[in-house]
């Protein structure tokens, strides 16, 4: 399955090659032109019968991961985060490192060697190290400073509906776009897979400069908020409650007409939808919206629990509903009162 393969691929910011290659292979027969720009964005173009509107659909290829920063004499590695990762989820995880995907673990002293004071505390991230089982730096082959290290997670089905994996943010968006490209549209459509979103929406800046679009719809994997809590306070988005629409986040206020159009279509077609909590996170839309003379932007996302960690949970039902809604929106973009 597409999502499974995409989730298992490794592609941190600046290291999206594997993902780009896979996507190129999957979509080449559905598009008229494919190109990789200098920063690494994969730009695909699908002609339409009409000249306008020019529409962009975008998802980012990169995921959060780590980078080797130094090799110590004892054969362990210091490393840095690439993108936002909670320090606490890093401890004791298996990582795969470099081109050869060499396995290592983020080491923690066993409880026997901890003191009363240290056993319930979390060391500082700068004290963390990766251990590949070496005893000296002379044992290290095939790992260099600058190599990326990824959570060694494999995609898995928990049950018929719930899947586990890494990098659903935003391989789920990449997967949606591949599914979308199988359809035909009557206007020019750019499908864009961006780079370096996780470290500051950087690929999207170049896309904005390059493509003069009328509309852009950004497809995302977004963090679910439905954690156990007792008080009557916001928990959305929920797993299984459908595609998540953005009203406002840290990077933009969604175009109201486009958002209202999407809501109208969802209601008409009986597709469930929910809102992301305002003022949290940001997406490529924030850059594309203010590119050139301005672009009408919206974000449609699949919620996933525990994003930016080694294990996220996502619902296939949400995926299907998000695909259905996005396709409906794209098919009705010039009708449905959006314009």
């Amino acid at each position: 399955m597409l999502l499974e393969e995409l989730s298992n691929l490794d592609g941190a910011s600046g290291d999206e090659g594997e993902v780009r290659e896979y996507l190129t292979h999957k979509i080449s027969k559905f598009v008229d032109n494919i190109e990789t720009d200098p920063i690494g964005n994969l730009i695909c173009f699908k002609r339409g019968k009409k000249k306008r509107p020019t529409v962009v659909i975008a998802a980012h290829m990169d995921e959060v991961a780590f980078m080797i920063t130094s090799i110590k004499k004892d054969g362990t590695f210091r490393f840095a985060k690439v993108g936002g990762i909670d320090t606490r989820v890093t401890l004791s995880k298996t990582l795969r490192i470099g081109r050869k995907k060499i396995k290592g673990v983020v080491g923690v002293k066993p409880i026997h060697l901890q003191t009363e004071e240290t056993k319930d505390t979390i060391p500082k991230f700068k004290e963390f190290y990766i251990d590949v089982g070496a005893t000296s730096d002379k044992d290290i082959k095939d790992i260099q400073i600058g190599d990326y290290a990824y959570f060694d997670t494999l995609y898995e089905k928990f049950n018929k509906n719930i899947v586990k994996g890494k990098a659903f943010d935003d391989r789920v968006g990449c997967s949606l776009i591949v599914d979308i490209l199988k359809e035909q549209f009557d206007y020019p459509l750019y499908a864009v897979f961006t780079t370096q979103e996780e470290i500051g929406l950087r690929g999207a800046i170049v896309i904005g400069n390059r493509i003069k679009a009328d509309y852009a719809i950004i497809l995302e994997g977004t963090g679910a908020g439905d954690f156990p809590r007792k008080d009557d306070l916001p928990k959305s988005p929920y797993l299984n409650k459908g595609p998540t629409l953005t009203i406002k986040d840290r990077s933009m206020i969604a175009d109201r007409k486009l958002l209202d159009g999407i809501i109208k279509i969802a209601k008409r077609e009986g597709i469930p939808y929910q809102f992301k909590q305002p003022s949290i996170g940001g997406t490529d839309a924030g850059r594309i919206q203010i590119s050139q003379g301005g672009v009408r932007c919206a974000v449609i996302a699949v919620p996933a629990r525990y994003i930016h960690s080694p294990v996220s949970l996502m619902s296939i039902k949400d995926y299907k509903n998000t695909l259905k809604l996005t396709l409906s929106v794209l098919k009705n973009l010039t009708k449905a009162g959006i314009k």
Partner: protein
């Protein structure tokens, strides 16, 4: 002019939802410019054609506000800030929504009055008796802003959203004053979404690609009890910006503003603002760069529901910009 300020400041218009403000300005300025258009992000662009250099004047239509995020079972509405909406100014303030509904901001019981105020512990009470009733009137995702009456104190006025409806007023009055007789090819741009990151300025400047740009916005003052040191006083004239947190004004733009002020006996003061910035910051970096500056209106209590400016400063800014447009640059 006070009538116009009253109308502009009492109207609803947080970032992204500037429609009502745009309509008022359209009506006011239509007879005094050659053309009017609205760009894709919602910026209102009024143009007076001339053979001179392209000058872009920008004032933002949007104000700070809130967006509703969640309704609990009793109908209390949680919210998030839109721009620099400060908790310290907002407790028990009234919030209005586009549909005319008004609510009051309440707060969870605090353990100690010394605890910090946090938006996450506040809510809006629109007088709904339960979730169902609240949802019908103000669904999640509704934008709101302060509700507050304009007060005329003679020389000085108090109102919400003088940041930056006073800038909008200045531009409208400049258009009225110059009667299409300008040396510069003049674009009056009323921008959107300034408060959340200078968004409208960025796209409108891209469309116009001006030779020179000025933003017209409010600036802080240092003239209140134990205020942060700042050489700006209410009533001492239009403020010519030298530097703020986001931009260093182009020296030749600054010099020609100073020269214009001196020549025409317009009171002015020089502004160095340590906090905050304006649309000019985004405009300055358009394409290959735009020499930019700003004329500011000194204002007390910025980003509260009761901002204060002095009408003499407003008039000085109007005269300064009008004369600036009439000099060949």
């Amino acid at each position: 002019m006070k009538k116009l300020i009253k109308k502009l400041t009492e109207t609803f218009g947080p970032s992204g939802y500037e429609n009502q403000i745009r309509n008022i300005i359209k009506k006011e300025i239509r007879g005094y410019v050659d053309s009017l258009k609205v760009d894709r992000l919602g910026n209102l662009i009024a143009h007076i054609k001339s053979k001179g250099k392209k000058v872009m004047l920008a004032a933002h239509m949007d104000e700070i506000g809130i967006v509703t995020s969640y309704i609990d079972k009793n109908g209390f509405i949680r919210f998030s800030n839109v721009g620099g909406f400060f908790p310290i100014h907002s407790l028990t303030a009234r919030i209005m929504f586009e549909n005319g509904r008004v609510g009051v901001i309440g707060e969870e019981q605090r353990n100690s009055m010394k605890d910090p105020l946090e938006i996450s512990k506040m809510y809006i009470d629109i007088g709904a008796r339960n979730k169902k009733e609240a949802e019908k009137i103000i669904p999640v995702g509704t934008f709101g802003c302060y509700e507050r009456k304009f007060e005329d104190l003679g020389k000085r006025i108090i109102a919400k959203s003088l940041d930056d409806r006073i800038g909008c007023t200045v531009l409208i009055e400049v258009a009225k004053l110059v009667r299409k007789k300008v040396a510069a090819d003049t674009y009056f741009v009323f921008t959107v979404q300034e408060e959340i990151g200078l968004k409208g300025a960025k796209t409108s400047a891209f469309g116009i690609n001006p030779d020179i740009a000025l933003s017209i916005d409010v600036t802080g003052t240092g003239d209140t009890p134990k205020a942060r040191k700042m050489a700006i006083k209410l009533g001492n004239g239009a403020a010519i910006k030298i530097k703020d947190r986001g931009m260093i004004s182009n020296p030749s733009v600054v010099n020609s503003l100073i020269k214009t002020a001196k020549k025409n006996n317009i009171p002015y003061q020089l502004e160095v603002l340590e906090m905050g910035t304006t649309d000019a910051t985004a405009i300055q970096l358009t394409m290959e760069g735009v020499p930019s500056g700003a004329v500011s209106i000194p204002s007390r209590y910025i980003h509260s529901s009761s901002e204060m400016v002095d009408i003499d400063d407003v008039n000085a800014a109007i005269r300064l910009i009008s004369k600036f447009l009439k000099t060949s640059l």
